[in-house]
């Protein structure tokens, strides 16, 4: 045992209050590297620490001059202590990465945990608190059976009023899309059908066919992404015929449980230049919130984006349960900070939180890629599809604004605490134009993208983050 050192003598004097001179200000922040593990149903050979270590090591490999002593601290995210059954798991990650005694904080924000961790890493640098910050996240959902996992996730709904009715998030999203279809498809395309029940059934069938195209898109894009959990070629019929989970949502329209980790590294302009010649700047961040209970959502007015007019939504009670006001709020904040007024032309792509094919379409509208009510037509036109990929149906406007070029949550998987960071890493590689290198396949690389958004979403839309990334080099 080492000899005990003598405690220093304490000086009991009252020091005068020293006037502090603030030295911090919002600074330019760059993402300089990132890494992800392959998302899988289960990674039994890795616990959460090793998964994060793999993603972290991959990230550090991308910046060979960066030695760990230059890292100022970290932000570490995971959603559920139930899945890990290990409290303070973020401390164990910090420990395993060898980052002690640097500063670290655990981030949790429901399904948007990864997106929030991304913004926490950004903020650590923007505020001047750190010059170089690691943001890392994980989830190990294979540690319980799938339906127990659904129960854990449903505990993120009001446990007095919502959970005891069935405790099932797919059920909540089904309630939302049935109303979305009622507002926007029943009332328009099927307005002339006299029998109410029949009109609604026809509208749901039509909307389900279009939602299935989102599922086909994301699974097919993922065929070129080696990190994705469920890449596959599907037809609209395959999606519609897959098992009914909660009417009208079928299995192939829903993301799955996953094990996985992801890591993003943020730096000041000066540090970024030191470590990479292809940095990506974070030019906008936004978060939005809404009531925990779907039942409490108001019926008010749409907060308008710069390109929208009050007459666009004269009779629309908003958000009700058909739209995500939190997503709209997060988008508005991020767009304002970045100076974006026409998102569908000023963004080149979006990695969007498609936990459900339905919520991808709802989110097109929240983020202003099209107006509220136009999400299904927008999908039919093909705007969010990639050019040069055969989806098995016509996509005339493919490439207009690709959404989930990586395959999204539906095909990549959704290890909650990692998901938002995974989106960041894929967006980062897109903007760096290094997709071919990291995926060993150039198919998903967009031609010289300037700007992209990542969108992370929690609960029934109770918290959402949107971040805007921009190419930071010429």
């Amino acid at each position: 045992m080492p000899a005990r050192r003598k405690a220093p003598k304490r000086r009991e004097s009252v020091r005068p209050v020293r006037k502090l001179t603030p030295t911090t200000n919002a600074r330019k922040v760059y993402m300089i590297t990132g890494g992800v593990t392959k998302f899988a149903k289960a990674h039994p050979a890795m616990d959460f620490r090793l998964m994060v270590k793999r993603a972290y090591d991959y990230a550090l490999k991308g910046v060979p001059n960066l030695t760990p002593d230059r890292i100022d601290g970290s932000r570490i995210s995971y959603f559920s202590d139930h899945f890990t059954r290990q409290l303070k798991a973020a401390s164990m990650v910090q420990d395993y990465l060898g980052l002690n005694p640097k500063g670290s904080v655990r981030i949790e924000w429901g399904g948007a945990t990864g997106g929030e961790c991304f913004q926490a890493g950004y903020e650590a640098v923007a505020s001047g608190r750190m010059d170089l910050c690691v943001a890392a996240g994980f989830e190990t959902m294979s540690r319980v059976a799938t339906w127990k996992g659904n129960e854990f996730i449903a505990l993120a709904s009001d446990t007095n009023f919502d959970f005891p009715l069935g405790g099932f998030y797919t059920g909540y999203y089904a309630l939302m899309v049935v109303r979305h279809i009622y507002e926007y498809v029943r009332q328009t395309k099927f307005a002339s059908v006299p029998d109410e029940r029949e009109a609604q059934r026809l509208a749901i069938a039509e909307a389900s066919r279009i939602m299935s195209k989102v599922s086909v898109k994301n699974h097919l894009n993922a065929l070129h992404n080696p990190y994705a959990q469920y890449p596959k070629r599907l037809t609209i019929e395959d999606v519609l015929r897959s098992e009914m989970i909660s009417y009208p949502l079928t299995r192939e329209q829903i993301c799955t449980m996953s094990d996985g980790a992801a890591c993003a590294v943020f730096a000041t302009e000066e540090r970024a230049k030191e470590f990479t010649d292809r940095p990506v700047r974070i030019i906008g961040v936004g978060t939005g919130t809404d009531t925990m209970r779907l039942a409490d959502r108001p019926f008010g007015k749409v907060p308008l984006l710069p390109h929208e007019r009050p007459r666009d939504y004269e009779d629309l009670p908003y958000p009700g349960i058909h739209s995500f006001r939190a997503g709209r709020a997060a988008g508005m904040e991020a767009y304002k900070m970045a100076g974006i007024t026409r998102p569908n032309t000023e963004l080149d792509f979006i990695e969007l939180h498609d936990a459900y094919a339905s919520s991808e379409i709802q989110t097109y509208e929240d983020l202003g890629l099209c107006k509220y009510g136009e999400g299904y037509d927008f999908t039919e036109r093909g705007d969010p599809f990639l050019k040069g990929i055969d989806y098995g149906f016509p996509v005339p406007k493919a490439g207009a604004i690709p959404v989930n070029p990586s395959g999204g949550l539906i095909a990549c998987g959704h290890p909650v605490g990692a998901t938002g960071l995974m989106q960041a890493v894929f967006a980062f590689w897109q903007l760096q134009e290094t997709i071919a290198k990291h995926f060993q396949d150039p198919a998903l690389q967009l031609a010289r993208p300037e700007r992209g958004a990542i969108h992370s979403h929690a609960g029934t839309g109770s918290s959402v983050t949107v971040s805007i990334l921009e190419r930071g080099f010429r």
């Binding site: 009715l165 089904a174 039942a295």
Partner: protein, 175 residues
């Protein structure tokens, strides 16, 4: 010496083995072996309904109660009660809700979380009431998927043997 746990190359087989013997070895495609054990966990919470208590006590008496903002200028009425008004922050008071309403949205769950799997398929509905500003999420019984539609008139039923849960009330089609 006891035998080594059985080795499996498919993860789903591991789970069955855990139920059987409590331990298993998973061998992945790279030949890496991981020892996996069954690790049960059960908790009983001492859960207080706190300010929501009158709602659940009301259900046991066959009463459906919402809350109304006490501030006269606001007066917002909530179907799912809140102790304080979301709009103006003032305290609310208890009010009886109509027992008849309409389906604002609905779904039929063919799966559910583990605790509810045995009850599938079940219907969930968001119910709207005249003169009430927010909705109530409930189970919808005595009807099947093909009967349901937005706007369908429904009415409340109460469990004569209350469990002090939101499931003490459910709705049925009203004729």
């Amino acid at each position: 010496m006891t035998a080594r746990p059985a080795v499996f190359t498919k993860f789903r087989d591991v789970q069955a083995e855990l139920e059987r013997s409590g331990s298993a070895i998973f061998r992945d495609a790279d030949g890496v072996e991981s020892l996996i054990i069954r690790n049960p966990y059960a908790i009983t919470y001492i859960h207080s309904y706190a300010e929501d208590s009158p709602f659940f006590l009301g259900l046991a008496e066959g009463r459906l109660r919402g809350s109304k903002c006490r501030k006269p200028k606001c007066g917002f009425v909530y179907a799912t009660p809140r102790g304080h008004c979301m709009v103006c922050g003032a305290p609310t008071e208890w009010v009886d809700l109509p027992t008849k309403g309409r389906v604002h949205s609905w779904t039929t769950c063919h799966f559910g979380s583990e605790a509810f799997l045995k009850e599938t398929p079940y219907n969930l509905a968001m119910v709207e009431f005249d003169g009430v500003g927010s909705l109530l999420l409930v189970r919808l019984k005595e009807c099947v998927e093909s009967d349901l539609y937005v706007g369908m008139p429904v009415e409340a039923r109460f469990d004569p043997q209350p469990k002090y849960s939101i499931t003490d009330v459910w709705f049925v089609p009203s004729h």
